[in-house]
């Protein structure tokens, strides 16, 4: 029994998210790995939106294009999503006026699609329940269809509505009872079998990347957060704001992105841990300040949550189009670190890394994420809280050590690794000037050729140490892959799902996860880049030289990681699977694209610049 998919569609504001979230949490608690994926237009009300849940007993980290159960809250689901259904799929609806076209009817018959009608209005009237409770009726109806424990659903409903009082809870529970016993009179009770549950999922978290990132930042000692709303960075602002009281945070919703990054930079300069997050357009506004932080050697963490551009682009969709922006943004040359998260586990564990490296190397850090990671719900193990340390580099707070400092220690260009002591306003020591003009050792303006050269070299030397310090990209799958897939960011989730399932189909679950091979004896590996600037290429070069085929997978038009690799080590990855339509790679789509690529194109596919 392979993965199944449930998809709720309707207008924004109709409540599909509440259906999706409750079913996702319920199934996780029942012992499934679930992946919740939302598509929605940039509107508050109306439009056509969806919440899809992919379910399996082995890890599921990506949405598929096909669905087994389609719940439609209006007729748009018939228009837009009928052909998303798998053979034998089910549509649940309360649209009593809809007539299918001949073509649709043929599709329905040929694919054995079942259509279950649920008279929501009539049921609500009978229950004396408000229209919004139609969602509870539908959820419960589906829950019964999945053969799941109704008490578990009731418990969830209680948790969700207890803050609204007993009366509201009771009305919701009545709807659960009514929904689960309802059957379409023509179809009778229809059920959909799920794979065998696995109890390991029960204790795992169901979490979006945004929440995971917020938790990671708190774990790393974040104290000040300054934001300006922009999808898909807004859920991070919302989450951090929602826990501000418990965490005692300073939160500021700024008047614009320039303010956000300047305020956070000021706070970081004083010695706390501060951050901001935005998307491409907002990041464009922040770039001058990134350059300033590079110059004054101020640690800073900025989250760049990608969505498709250029310009306002597709605000509520996903992309990996800002990699080269992150690396090349801002005027002048200065050291920086660019890293990318790929899933909620990364979102949590890389935030302490980002803060530590920002302070150890005294430079701005850009953390890339995207709409797909930011908003998708993933099932992941509880975050490991043992691993992270707070590393603050050459920050000096000891009174004795402070007494020995001279102002000219701050930007002393003779520092071997380019990293000089950093100390903070308010601490008793000789003072210095955090100088965004080119400067001498104590931050005095210095336009001399000697100072310009020495300070540029001091700052850029930090990149050498940083590059050495950073881990290599991570190789998943075979150690010596004949087929090498290369990618970064959220693409990892789909790639791993594909590799794991190809392995499972061929060799059985014992070979999962990711130890399995694909196709005619070919061994497959996925090389995942987390640290993107400075870029380490040694492992890639070694693997690429041995591989029969290298395939680049990215959600952008140009293959930006490929461009970067070519620039840095001269190897041009010819085979590219690129997507730039605002959607992430779907599981089955990427599986087909990889298999097609393996079947049709012939090695060698690498070109080395001479």
């Amino acid at each position: 029994m392979s993965r199944i998919s449930i998809k709720a569609v309707g207008s924004s504001g109709q409540g599909i998210n509440s259906i999706g979230e409750v079913i996702a949490m319920g199934l996780k608690r029942s012992g499934y790995s679930v992946f919740g994926y939302r598509e929605y237009p940039s509107l508050i009300k109306g439009g056509h939106a969806s919440f899809q849940i992919d379910v399996d007993s082995i890890p599921v980290r990506s949405p598929g294009t096909k669905t087994d159960i389609l719940i439609t809250l209006n007729h748009h689901g018939f228009e837009h999503n009928l052909y998303d259904l798998q053979k034998g799929g089910i549509i649940i609806h309360d649209v009593d006026y809809w007539e299918f076209s001949k073509e649709d009817q043929r599709f329905i018959e040929e694919n054995d699609i079942k259509i279950a009608y649920i008279p929501l209005d009539e049921m609500l009237k009978k229950l004396k329940a408000r229209p919004i409770l139609a969602n509870v009726l539908l959820t419960s109806f589906v829950w019964d269809m999945l053969n799941q424990d109704i008490e578990l659903l009731k418990q969830l409903v209680r948790e969700q509505y207890q803050h609204k009082g007993e009366e509201v809870v009771e009305k919701n529970l009545e709807c659960v009872d009514a929904g689960c016993i309802y059957n379409d009179p023509k179809l009778g009770r229809v059920t959909v079998s799920l794979p065998k549950p696995d109890s390991r999922w029960k204790d795992q978290l169901l979490v979006t990347g945004s929440v995971a990132m917020g938790l990671g930042a708190l774990h790393a000692g974040l104290r000040v957060y300054v934001g300006y709303p922009m999808t898909p960075s807004s859920p991070l602002l919302s989450y951090i704001s929602s826990v501000q009281k418990e965490a005692g945070l300073v939160i500021k919703q700024a008047e614009d992105e320039i303010t956000a990054v300047q305020m956070a930079s000021g706070a970081f300069h004083m010695g706390t841990r501060a951050m901001t997050a935005t998307s491409g357009g907002g990041y464009d506004l922040m770039t001058e300040t990134m350059s300033m932080n590079g110059m004054i050697e101020n640690p800073m963490v900025v989250v760049l949550a990608q969505r498709p551009g250029p310009a306002t682009g597709n605000p509520t969709w996903t992309a990996q189009g800002d990699l080269l922006l992150a690396i090349n943004s801002s005027h002048g040359e200065f050291p920086r670190l660019v890293i990318s998260v790929s899933d909620p586990e990364d979102c949590f564990s890389l935030m302490p890394e980002a803060f530590n490296l920002a302070e150890e190397y005294q430079l701005p850090v850009i953390v890339l994420t995207d709409k797909h990671i930011a908003e998708a719900l993933c099932t992941v193990p509880a975050f490991d809280q043992k691993k992270a340390q707070i590393l603050r580099g050459k920050l000096i707070t000891d009174p004795k050590a402070l007494k020995n400092l001279k102002g000219s220690d701050r930007y002393d260009p003779s520092a071997k690794d380019g990293i000089t002591p950093r100390w903070l306003p308010g601490y008793e020591a000789e003072t210095f000037n955090a100088q965004a003009d080119e400067h001498s050792a104590d931050g005095s303006i210095d336009e001399s050729a000697e100072a310009a050269k020495a300070q540029m070299e001091k700052r850029m030397r930090k990149m050498k140490g940083l590059k050495k310090h950073l881990p290599d990209p991570v190789l998943y799958g075979e150690k010596n892959p004949e087929i090498l897939i290369v990618g970064w960011g959220s693409t990892k989730m789909t790639v791993l799902d594909v590799l794991e399932r190809l392995g499972v189909e061929k060799f059985g679950p014992a070979f999962a996860p990711l130890g399995a091979s694909v196709g005619k004896g070919l061994e497959v590996g996925y090389l995942h880049y987390t640290y993107l600037w400075p870029l380490k290429t040694e492992l890639f070069e070694r693997l690429a030289a041995k591989a029969k085929k290298v395939i680049l997978v990215e959600c952008n038009y140009q293959g930006q990681l490929g461009m970067l690799l070519k620039q840095q080590c001269g190897i041009d990855i010819v085979e590219k699977i690129l997507k730039y339509d605002g959607r992430p790679f779907y599981f089955d789509e990427l599986q087909n694209l990889i298999l097609q690529n393996l079947q049709t194109s012939k090695p060698p596919n690498l070109q080395t610049a001479s």
């Binding site: 104290r223 000040v224 305020m263 003072t431």
Partner: protein, 301 residues
């Protein structure tokens, strides 16, 4: 006012010598920046603040060249952006007085949005406007405070735009502290700066310092300011009277009112309004530590 030039014994607090920087000033002869630069050091010494106890943030412009002409923890950043950086710094460490300096170009054109929101937010920060009514460092272009009709670099026929009525604009934002002073009156400047720094415990202090730009400003000259400025304290002005303050601040046709024009100590500062910080006695700078997030993870099960 006790402002020692040298203090033989450091336990008696700082002296002017502590703020002395080896770098020499580079402003034009007769520039108003000399007076402001002198008065701020005097005010800090009078308040018994050592250089290591203060954070001085400079915008970009002629005044920004003061950033390496005095001691103190200093920051010299981007054009127009000094206020948010200073505000972020202050919120991170409420124990450190934070003083931001900016010109009229930075504050009423490039960064005017920051000024609006700094006043509205009532950040516990002092802001000193170096108001010479033009862009000096870029060789004398018109700012939005340059008088209409004045020929300037890049506008030889005068600016077509109207001049911003800066004080009317400031008062429209419900400020909690407004002062105006003249760079030629160092004694008054010192007093005004002291009061503006002390106002940080209540919120945002806006100090408009009218200064000469002998090279590019040929209309509001040192002589002109010398003649027109008068000290409101000599006329018994009540700084709590918002209406009267606004009136004397905006009406500059006959005379220019200087001194503390308005102060309201009853409005909480931005920091005091933060619900999440109530009851916390430390500052964010001293709170950086690994945090257990188990309580938040429980909600995701």
């Amino acid at each position: 006012m006790n402002i020692p030039l040298q203090s033989p014994d450091n336990t008696n607090g700082p002296s002017m010598a502590d703020y002395h920087h080896k770098n020499q000033c580079t402003w034009c002869d007769g520039c108003g920046d000399y007076g402001i630069w002198t008065a701020i050091q005097r005010a800090l010494v009078a308040l018994k603040l050592h250089p290591w106890q203060v954070f001085l943030c400079f915008d970009v412009g002629c005044h920004g060249n003061a950033s390496d002409k005095l001691m103190g923890y200093r920051f010299h950043g981007l054009h127009g952006r000094v206020l948010p950086f200073a505000a972020g710094a202050k919120l991170a460490n409420m124990d450190v007085p934070v003083i931001a300096f900016g010109g009229d170009g930075a504050s009423f054109s490039e960064g005017v949005g920051h000024l609006v929101h700094a006043i509205r937010s009532n950040y516990p920060v002092t802001f000193i406007l170096h108001n010479n009514e033009n862009y000096g460092l870029t060789t004398g272009q018109a700012s939005s405070l340059t008088w209409q009709g004045q020929p300037m670099n890049a506008s030889p026929f005068g600016i077509p735009e109207r001049t911003i009525a800066s004080m009317d604009f400031i008062f429209s934002l419900q400020p909690t502290f407004v002062a105006r002073a003249f760079s030629g009156n160092i004694k008054q400047l010192t007093e005004v700066f002291k009061a503006a720094i002390e106002h940080q415990k209540h919120g945002f202090a806006f100090v408009d310092v009218l200064q000469a730009c002998p090279t590019y400003n040929h209309f509001a000259t040192h002589e002109y300011l010398l003649e027109k400025c008068y000290d409101v304290t000599t006329e018994g002005h009540d700084v709590r009277d918002f209406g009267q303050a606004r009136k004397i601040a905006t009406d500059t046709t006959e005379r220019i009112a200087t001194g503390i024009l308005y102060q309201n100590t009853n409005i909480p500062s931005f920091y005091e309004r933060l619900e999440a910080r109530k009851g916390i006695t430390t500052t964010p700078v001293h709170e950086v530590a690994k945090r257990d997030v188990s309580e938040f993870m429980r909600e995701l099960l």
